[in-house]
């Protein structure tokens, strides 16, 4: 669907119909004291080349710029974006902010989202995926709310302490005012979720675990799922790096009831942390409690294949305060991007890319191990891992590397005070061997 701004002539014609002389006059019913008086204090408009120059200057004063090699993931991964995706996205059928309510004019968008849902459901091993949420954090919060709807009279949920700290913060924001109780499960000695307290927590609607977790550690999802199901709770699998499922078992294979997470890895730039993509999928038996939009395949009156929004009767524009969730429009362009990315790679490509990420991260661990770095836990990791340098203070090394254009890891102290001085590294296919070697050499100096 195209966005066509109104021309001055069209605005004048519309004002004439309603009997007003100007836009200001149209808004005259807004009381004066509620309106901004005078001119807006905005600078003069710049020409295109002046504007570009201005932003280039701003970019250069940042500590970390686009030329830096950033060896941090922590929920936002730097992956290569094929040029085909930018080209496809620039097409006007896709590049729109509008939600496709009207099937008669939005078949392209609807089919694109339908493909996204299909690919997401397959990747996560689930029966049904929605048309996406805002990001990984809001997807987790919505998954917990969904479990509370299914659990009816249960009012308590638990989340692993190894879930991304930002996700847990968003969950607290969602659940606290609603009167639900949130329990955080401790991180065990191997950097994995510790469920030993599960029996003492009473009736839980759901337990959420992230894999790979914030430390890059791949959780033993099958075992966790069994224990969680035995306790009578729903099993939610969260993630911030869906690429991992190209290599490791997906949430569905491990018994997840709901799988949700961040899809930024699939073709979206990091852009200071957004816009993201909340991937969300569940078992079919829970579909009526699933939040968000859902595109379905159907036949038109002449028996031709077509696509429409479906199960919309539970959404807020129809069901008001009893709606399954308050999410309506989101940045659907991100779902379209992920569909293009997944389709570009295919199953084989995804597996190879995941393998490449895994191998590079493995090489980085070995290389840092040779110069005194110690990987904190023995658990398997995907493209992130925590490392500590017992013999030396890594802080100054990191500063020198930063000056050389390499951002070497994230000090975990900011999120986990008990892990201060330990560093979370994120290695994707975009990190060259030479960069990893350079980090190791700097440690040795």
């Amino acid at each position: 669907m195209r966005y066509l701004p109104h021309t001055d002539e069209e605005i004048a014609a519309m004002l004439a119909v309603v009997g007003r002389n100007s836009l200001d006059e149209l808004f005259c019913s807004i009381p004066d004291h509620c309106r901004y008086q005078g001119e807006m204090p905005l600078p003069e408009a710049l020409s295109e080349w002046q504007l570009e120059e201005h932003f280039a200057e701003l970019g250069e004063v940042m500590t970390v710029g686009s030329r830096h090699k950033v060896l941090i993931g922590a929920g936002s991964a730097h992956h290569f974006i094929p040029e085909s995706i930018r080209a496809l996205l620039s097409r006007s059928e896709f590049l729109t902010a509008y939600t496709p309510y009207q099937p008669e004019i939005a078949q392209g968008t609807l089919q694109g989202i339908y493909e996204y849902q299909t690919l997401t459901a397959r990747l996560l091993g689930m029966d049904v995926a929605n048309a996406s949420m805002y990001d990984g954090a809001s997807a987790l919060a919505e998954a917990l709310l969904m479990a509370l709807r299914i659990g009816r009279k249960k009012s308590r949920v638990a989340v692993a302490g190894s879930i991304h700290p930002h996700y847990r913060q968003v969950v607290r924001t969602y659940l606290g005012p609603a009167g639900y109780e949130l329990v955080e499960l401790p991180v065990g000695p191997e950097g994995r979720c510790d469920l030993s307290a599960l029996g003492d927590l009473g009736e839980l609607a759901a337990v959420a675990v992230q894999s790979p977790n914030f430390f890059g550690v791949v959780e033993d999802l099958e075992l966790l799922g069994q224990q969680i199901h035995q306790s009578g709770a729903l099993f939610i699998v969260s993630f911030s790096e869906p690429l991992a499922f190209g290599l490791f078992k997906n949430p569905g294979e491990c018994g997840a009831d709901i799988a949700c997470g961040e899809g930024q890895s699939f073709g979206m730039p990091r852009s200071f942390g957004g816009a993201g993509l909340g991937m969300f999928a569940c078992r079919e038996q829970f579909v009526r409690n699933m939040p968000g939009r859902l595109v379905g395949e159907t036949l038109d009156r002449q028996g031709r294949r077509g696509f429409v929004l479906t199960l919309a009767t539970r959404e807020q524009h129809i069901r008001r305060e009893k709606a399954t969730s308050n999410i309506c429009s989101n940045q659907g362009i991100c779902a379209m991007t992920a569909a293009m990315y997944m389709a570009s790679l295919g199953g084989t490509g995804l597996r190879r890319l995941a393998r490449l990420n895994y191998d590079k991260a493995q090489y980085c661990q070995e290389r840092l191990g040779q110069v005194g770095g110690k990987v904190l836990w023995n658990s398997p990791v995907f493209n992130e891992f925590v490392i500590e340098f017992a013999e030396r203070d890594f802080g100054p090394v990191r500063q020198r590397l930063l000056a050389a254009g390499i951002v070497a890891g994230l000090d975990l102290g900011r999120f986990y005070p008990e892990h201060a001085g330990r560093y979370l590294f994120g290695i994707t296919e975009t990190v060259d061997k030479a960069v990893i070697d350079r980090v190791a050499e700097e440690v040795e100096k």
Partner: protein
């Protein structure tokens, strides 16, 4: 949608302002929705019912009806325990459209059978709809 004169009312049943009906069977009560309710909702595609053994107070929500155009809450007309849910509705929710008074949703053991006397008679319900 039906005109008022086409609407069916079942004598002997009791009704609520939310358009549920209650019928008395041997040892229990049966609860369904009225012809007016099914007609207003249109084709019913999904029925969400509680677990057997669940206990609800009078007026408490015990399930939902989903049609092609809306989802409506179901409120229990008389407080009590759910002793049976109509499992046929899982595969055939349209039974409610075709036979609203022959299709009960749940059977309940009322906590206080006297509560049924507080509900509307068929006449009173008809008058309420006529406004």
């Amino acid at each position: 949608m039906k005109t008022f004169s086409d609407l069916i009312f079942r004598e002997g049943f009791r009704y609520t302002e939310d358009h549920e009906w209650v019928g008395t069977a041997a040892e229990h009560l049966e609860v369904g929705v009225s012809d007016y309710a099914q007609d207003q909702m249109g084709d019913i595609v999904f029925v969400e019912l509680p677990d057997e053994g669940a206990v609800f107070a009078k007026g408490e929500q015990f399930g939902t009806l989903e049609s092609v155009k809306a989802v409506s809450e179901l409120y229990l007309p008389v407080g009590g325990e759910i002793i049976e849910v109509n499992s046929a509705l899982g595969d055939s929710p349209e039974l409610i459209n075709s036979d609203p008074y022959g299709t009960w949703l749940v059977r309940i053991k009322p906590a206080d059978p006297g509560q049924i006397e507080q509900l509307l008679t068929a006449d009173a319900y008809r008058q309420m709809l006529q406004g």
